[in-house]
């Protein structure tokens, strides 16, 4: 009666050269009208495939081999012919995706893309459809909808595009919205706005939502019920609050335990559901100064169009980093926080010498001839796979800096490489693999080992875990915490994730539009943020409801 969607015994195979391989097995759940279900799991767990199977939009190599998907009033979607299915898609079930850029047609105006469904499904004529499109854009919170309706997708920001996609999805008043990682590509404040919007639309439209996400905190905020997927199966499902408070399956526990917000500062992140262990204490304060950045400015020239040259308009410049200054001493851990475009990566690239500053100073303490810059400061990159040369094996990658800079004798190279691999927790058997044959976490460990090969005093980690799953993120952060203590490394951790920075760093810099908005001890900034922007950032972090039963309790629950 109240039931909207029932999925039972869903199984999906992928056809490979070696024959079919099971990707999803025995997935079943129910969804009532107006309800929100969270589908949580790591990459490769089959959550996206499951959703795509519901509207029969699987990649061509994948096949549904068993199962039933019943939509009330429409019957079994899997047994339906393509014509009937077209009626269901868009009119009854709508979908929004992680990357709005690739799901909006770049050569179609925003309004036309919204109107398309209205004309097709509801038979409206053009002018009525256009008026309705403007209403929809207004409803999803786009300022000045009368103009935006005629905009091209590239003229909108990421958050605006996602709003436009939601407007297109809602055009025909569907009963069910499938949202596949709708905010993963967005900044945290924009994410909060989109989730607010979805929550409001649920209220006004009685919309049921399936929210696919890797972010348990987000799901905890938004969904009444949650299903945790792993390796193509649902391992645990039920009321969100109950599962967050009392997870039964060990994997769910690991997933919850890896949430940075549940880890007390000064502890390792719990791995495999084990309780958080206290990290070795680092002696704070009084370390020898290593790095001083003073009034640093980095400007980029805006690309000039031919017309600008013809009209002799002067070149315009953007200040990516605008008068930033800080000091770093040995053993320090400094977090740099900000949203995309805040200049935090440019700052890092300037410190390691990849970008030339326009003004200001970067003073690395010590004699440049004695210890060149690369022996004092090294960097870890965001995308672990693209940070490794695809043609070199792990051993070759780690050998190169040792040989080129004559850091040890040739006879010792093999032992040094083995020692480095052991230090970052890499299996020696992986030495002859190439990056493509490694997982994301393993690639990041190789990247860390390569940086350590030069024994730097400062390690800059630029979003080292944002491309990784949350349990792998915990392992990599633990490695950084341990290396910092063992090697007395000064660490600069750049991240958009405030919770991560808070757990790893004692000092935090908040950046926006290239400037430092706030600076201070991590605990003080989180407890009593001074700047308005910092408060905005903190408020946008998901997990305010789901985990709100008192944080200390929650991390005892993990243990």
């Amino acid at each position: 009666m109240n039931e909207l969607l029932t999925v039972a015994g869903l199984a999906i195979d992928v056809l490979t050269r070696e024959g079919p391989r099971a990707l999803v097995r025995d997935v079943g759940f129910r969804l009532n009208r107006g309800e929100a279900l969270g589908l949580v799991g790591e990459s490769g767990s089959g959550k996206t495939l499951t959703c795509r199977a519901l509207v029969r939009l699987l990649p061509s190599a994948c096949r549904v081999v068993a199962g039933k998907v019943t939509l009330s009033g429409a019957g079994d979607l899997l047994a339906m012919d393509e014509r009937a299915l077209t009626e269901v898609r868009g009119r009854r079930v709508a979908m929004i995706f992680q990357n709005p850029t690739s799901h909006l047609d770049p050569v179609m105006r925003i309004g036309e893309q919204i109107a398309e469904g209205l004309i097709l499904h509801q038979g409206l004529d053009r002018s009525v459809a256009r008026r309705r499109s403007i209403e929809l854009l207004d409803e999803v919170g786009i300022a000045d909808p009368a103009h935006t309706v005629d905009a091209w997708p590239h003229q909108l920001s990421g958050g605006m595009r996602q709003r436009a996609m939601i407007a297109a999805a809602l055009a025909c008043e569907p009963d069910l919205l499938i949202a596949d990682e709708p905010t993963t590509a967005l900044d945290v404040t924009i994410q909060a706005q989109i989730i607010d919007l979805l929550r409001r639309l649920r209220g006004t439209h009685g919309l049921a939502v399936i929210l696919v996400s890797h972010d348990l905190a987000l799901v905890g905020d938004f969904c009444e019920r949650v299903a945790v997927m792993r390796a193509g199966r649902i391992v645990e499902a039920g009321e969100t609050a109950a599962i967050l408070a009392h997870p039964r399956h060990p994997y769910t526990r690991e997933l919850i335990g890896s949430q940075p917000r549940l880890v007390p500062p000064g502890h390792y992140f719990p791995v495999s559901g084990a309780p958080a262990e206290r990290a070795p204490r680092v002696k704070l304060g009084g370390g020898a100064p290593l790095l001083e950045v003073a009034d640093l400015v980095v400007t980029f020239q805006r690309p000039r169009r031919v017309l600008d040259l013809v009209r002799r308009r002067p070149a315009t410049y953007v200040r990516a980093v605008d008068r930033v200054g800080f000091a770093l001493a040995s053993g320090d851990a400094l977090g740099i926080v900000g949203e995309s475009g805040s200049g935090k990566s440019t700052l890092a690239r300037a410190i390691v010498g990849l970008v030339t500053p326009s003004a200001g100073a970067i003073r690395l303490v010590g004699d440049e001839r004695e210890t060149p810059r690369y022996r004092r400061v090294q960097m870890i990159f965001q995308d672990p796979l693209s940070a490794l040369n695809p043609r070199l094996s792990v051993a070759q990658t780690l050998t190169e800096p040792l040989i080129v800079h004559r850091l040890c004798r040739r006879a010792e190279v093999a032992t040094r490489v083995a020692a480095l691999m052991a230090e970052v927790g890499l299996d020696p058997a992986l030495a002859h693999r190439r990056p493509r044959q490694l997982s994301g976490g393993q690639c990041q460990r190789v990247g860390i080992a390569r940086a350590l090969a030069l024994s730097p005093a400062i390690l800059i980690a630029d979003e080292p875990t944002s491309a990784l799953d949350v349990t792998i993120q915990a392992q990599i952060l633990n490695l950084l915490i341990r290396l910092r203590a063992e090697r007395q490394l000064a660490l600069i951790l750049i991240s958009h994730d405030l919770e991560v920075v808070r757990r790893v760093c004692e000092r935090v810099i908040v950046m926006r539009h290239g400037r430092v908005v706030e600076e201070g001890p991590a605990e003080r900034i989180f407890a009593a943020p001074q700047a308005g922007y910092t408060r905005e950032l903190l408020a946008a972090i998901p997990g305010t409801r789901g985990f709100s039963g008192g944080t200390p309790l929650a991390w005892q629950g993990v243990a």
Binding site: V352, F381, A387, Q437, R450
Partner: protein, 281 residues
């Protein structure tokens, strides 16, 4: 704790080669064997004349007939493989080396190096390929040496463009930044990190280019600008047989088939490599 990777599957999983790659390699391999073993395989010498047996059709003694000097066509084709393979390899090798070097430097260094290299490239491309090659050979005097020089001077542009485009994409990749942060010199970054990753399209194109060069070499020999008679070269053979086309078709037909099969070998290899390396020329 564990993440699944492609390599976690059984190590025995053997790599499947595209059939086109195998066919191309087999065809080229055949011609290489022929070129090496021509002295033993050929029943007669390539220049051996027998004026009592001119213009004879295919027979038991002369499988593919004889030409107007009574030379055995089969023997000349087998010996001609040496020259034509040499043209294919050298005619591609020099442009490949020069073009990749220029593309690598222009892409990585940018600035003036790039501007100068690109203007040079545009000037070269402004002339029709064949006209420019023929003009250079005309200045240097006919012969294979001139052909190689002309190809090197004109052919590098394609390689330079392909490799420069790849380098421009790759030089902002994180692994190149990482190499620079590690304090590696510009040559090392280019040679060890950029080139091996940027060269793939150029390698695939080289195979396609070899087809064109074989045909071009034969065509220029036909025009009297490449290999000179009486050398056993397929284009020369066709040129010499042209006047007997109506009465003694075999003099032209069989060298023509040889050219087609060698070109097909390179072409299949190009397609196979493109599939194997995941790029399309």
């Amino acid at each position: 704790m564990t993440e699944a990777t492609a390599a976690d599957r059984p190590a025995a999983a053997h790599v499947e080669l595209p059939p086109m790659l195998l066919a191309g390699t087999a065809l080229l391999g055949l011609w290489i064997v022929v070129a090496i073993g021509a002295d033993w395989l050929a029943p007669y010498g390539p220049l051996e004349q027998d004026l009592s047996r001119t213009l004879q059709g295919p027979s038991a003694a002369h499988w593919l007939g004889t030409d107007n000097y009574g030379r055995d066509v089969l023997s000349r084709i087998l010996h001609g493989a040496r020259l034509d393979l040499q043209i294919a390899v050298l005619g591609v090798l020099f442009p490949f080396l020069i073009g990749n070097l220029i593309g690598l430097l222009a892409g990585y260094l940018g600035g003036w190096t790039d501007i100068v290299a690109m203007r040079l490239l545009e000037v070269t491309m402004a002339f029709p390929f064949l006209v420019l090659v023929i003009a250079i050979i005309a200045v240097l005097g006919p012969g294979l040496g001139s052909l190689y020089v002309a190809l090197a001077l004109v052919g590098w542009v394609s390689y330079a463009r392909l490799t420069r485009a790849q380098v421009l994409v790759l030089k902002s990749a994180d692994f190149v930044s990482a190499a620079r942060v590690m304090g590696l010199g510009a040559w090392r970054v280019m040679w060890r990190h950029l080139l091996p990753n940027a060269v793939t399209p150029a390698v695939v194109f080289a195979m396609t280019d070899a087809v064109l060069v074989v045909l071009l070499g034969s065509a220029l020999s036909y025009l009297g600008l490449g290999a000179q008679p009486p050398a056993a070269e397929w284009g020369v053979m066709i040129a010499e047989g042209q006047q007997f086309l109506a009465s003694a078709w075999w003099i032209c037909l069989f060298p023509g088939l040889a050219i087609v099969s060698l070109a097909m070998g390179f072409s299949l290899l190009a397609d196979g490599l493109a599939e194997r390396l995941g790029t399309r020329p």
